[in-house]
């Protein structure tokens, strides 16, 4: 990293994002490191900022509570952030894991889930992309999901939203291919975070949030177009994507 690094994290109190921030703080040594932490809960963001400043005394954090749904609000938030300095890294990490059954019964829930997991991250990325293309530098990392690779009955509302993120990132990568702006699409598998607590109860084996964050931080520094975290999900999803429909439809996943 350069002498002064500016990292913007959208959805900074998500467990994966917080652990990415810790690792960035840990590796930056004594260089100046500036975080912009965007979230909904001021107290949690303050606690994360305090933690980061112990991990790296050279780290400072700006805390922003913002509206994640309205396009105009997103445009304004991003313009304000960019006015404070061009980001070296933007990590777009917010999201929720909706209950598929409830989404099927209540369209409002389905719409909210699509909005927060699909449309909102994409609008944030789009807002940053214009600014970063103009200065021709930086990395935009967006957290998608393995769930976006193929729709499954157990969570296709979430999967569809994340599929939108995938296709969007693909397009943005195409647009910025000749530039110095890198776009990294991250697809975590099920990770041990508060968002997935109910999966753990069902005996799912979940990757540790530390290892997922390490994979993401590595992928971002390399500028890899697609990062599966942990890496084994690349293989698993390749198989699942290619299963013939008559096999896939018999599976209870």
């Amino acid at each position: 990293m350069t002498d002064s690094t500016r990292i913007v994290i959208i959805g900074a109190s998500s467990a994966i994002a917080e652990h990415c921030a810790r690792q960035w703080a840990g590796q930056a040594g004594h260089e100046s490191l500036q975080f912009v932490l965007l979230g909904r809960d001021q107290n949690r963001l303050n606690a994360i900022a305090g933690d980061l400043s112990v991990r790296n005394p050279a780290a400072t954090s700006q805390i922003l509570c913002a509206d994640f749904s309205r396009a105009e609000a997103i445009a304004k938030t991003v313009a304000d952030i960019v006015a404070g300095g061009t980001p070296d890294i933007v990590l777009i990490a917010h999201g929720t894991l909706p209950d598929q059954q409830l989404c099927q019964q209540d369209l409002t829930l389905a719409a909210d889930a699509m909005q927060i997991n699909g449309l909102s991250p994409v609008l944030f990325a789009e807002a940053f992309a214009g600014h970063m293309q103009a200065v021709n530098t930086g990395t935009i990392a967006i957290i998608g999901s393995v769930a976006g690779d193929r729709g499954r009955k157990s969570n296709y509302v979430y999967g569809a939203a994340k599929g939108l993120v995938s296709r969007y990132a693909q397009g943005l990568q195409h647009r910025l291919a000749g530039s110095n702006v890198k776009v990294v699409l991250i697809k975590p598998g099920p990770t041990d975070t508060p968002m997935t607590a109910h999966l753990k109860q069902d005996g799912a084996s979940l990757a540790s949030v530390e290892s997922v964050a390490a994979t993401i931080v590595r992928g971002v520094s390399k500028g890899s177009p697609v990062v599966y975290a942990p890496g084994k999900w690349w293989l698993i999803m390749m198989i699942i994507r290619h299963l013939p429909r008559f096999v896939f439809n018999k599976m209870d996943i």
Binding site: A15, G26, N43, R44, A47, I48, G50, D51, V54, R55, P57, P194, A197, H198, K200, Q201
Partner: protein, 442 residues
Amino acid sequence: MFMKIASWGRLAEHPHEVVPLADHRTLVQSIQHGLPGISYGMGRSYGDVCLNPAGTLWQTRRMNRFISFDQGTGILSCEAGVTLKEIQDCLVPRGWMLPVTPGTQLITVGGAIANDVHGKNHHVMGTFGEHVTSFRIARTDGSTLDCNRDHHADLFKATIGGLGLTGVISTAQIRLRRIDSPWLLTDTVPFTSLDDFFSLADRSETDWEHTVSWIDCLTGPQTRGIFLRANHTSEAELTEKQLTAPGTRTPSALNMPVTPPLSLVNKLSLRPFNAAYYHMNARKAGISAAHYQSFFYPLDKIQHWNRMYGRRGFFQYQCVVPRKTARPAIADMLAAIAAAGDGSFLAVLKTFAERPAAGLLSFPLAGATLALDFPNKGARTERLFARLDDIVTQAGGRLYAAKDARMPAQMFAEGYASGLQEFSAFRDPGISSAMSRRLLGS
């Protein structure tokens, strides 16, 4: 969420209602339901101090943020779910280390306080609790109390070594110690009798901060072992040769990927292992350098090492016996173990110094402590423990609760008589563990 949870000894795996605590600010609301519960951190306690079968476990691990660190005074403030490893990974490079750590750094700050853990430098630094300047504790009645040696001093003292029974620690302030480097200068001294051990221990106390010894518990009265002593040092005081010697740096990570059906520690393996271990180390006798991680936490490098004892799990038996009776009591115990034909290769013998206890139920006493691992062989292991209990009780000693899964309530009551009466007034009625029901009746 109901999950099957075992402690480090893997003796039993019972379903628990696991409630993750998200952060220290919301903790007090989270612990007012599903009572009684008990805090659970890294699950590195060997026995049942962190278990509550069919009941609630408050999982503290996600409550793992640093709050502040004063580079001038070395005072760290953090949430109770932070591990000792996280603290040292962050602060050792800046010249600060925890003054007291046990043989693993994969434990939480809350667990270190609740068990008032000790390390190889007890005669210089005492227990972990001595370096805790204050903490905040939440109780199941909805109250939150800030405790230190002046304010709620009695609850402070009851909570240090209080087995998690006085409330849930949310944040703590710890005074770290300065170090010049991550390096230690070590001296390895083989010995061939208990008398040698005790005289080495006495002679080493003034000049060496860390002392510990491994013993071959199969050799009976002519106990052989390896005495290890060390001091913190600066890199400048070490030679290039010392710094680059094999085994000096942290060893690479290993893993025990599966649980074997039977214990790998058994009659066939133990005798050759102990002989090889003794001779390997005897050859290394003398001065060398060690990185703090390989010196303090050699087993942390082997993930899931507790699986090597097989599916039935294992016990750790750690006692302390007072100085006056230590020599004969340790000899009797070693004879009993040799006679039973069972043994342990993690046999650790160490002396404790006379120090005022940090907590009401703190384990150390001036004297000697012996720690041994035994694969669980049911009634046969129980018989050996009954014999060892007799020796310890007769000698005026006691067992370490952090390691215990089976001591009789009577033995606990006698061993901890001095603090137990006072302790009961500070218990949180909404908190109970398998251990508290076994040893305290509730």
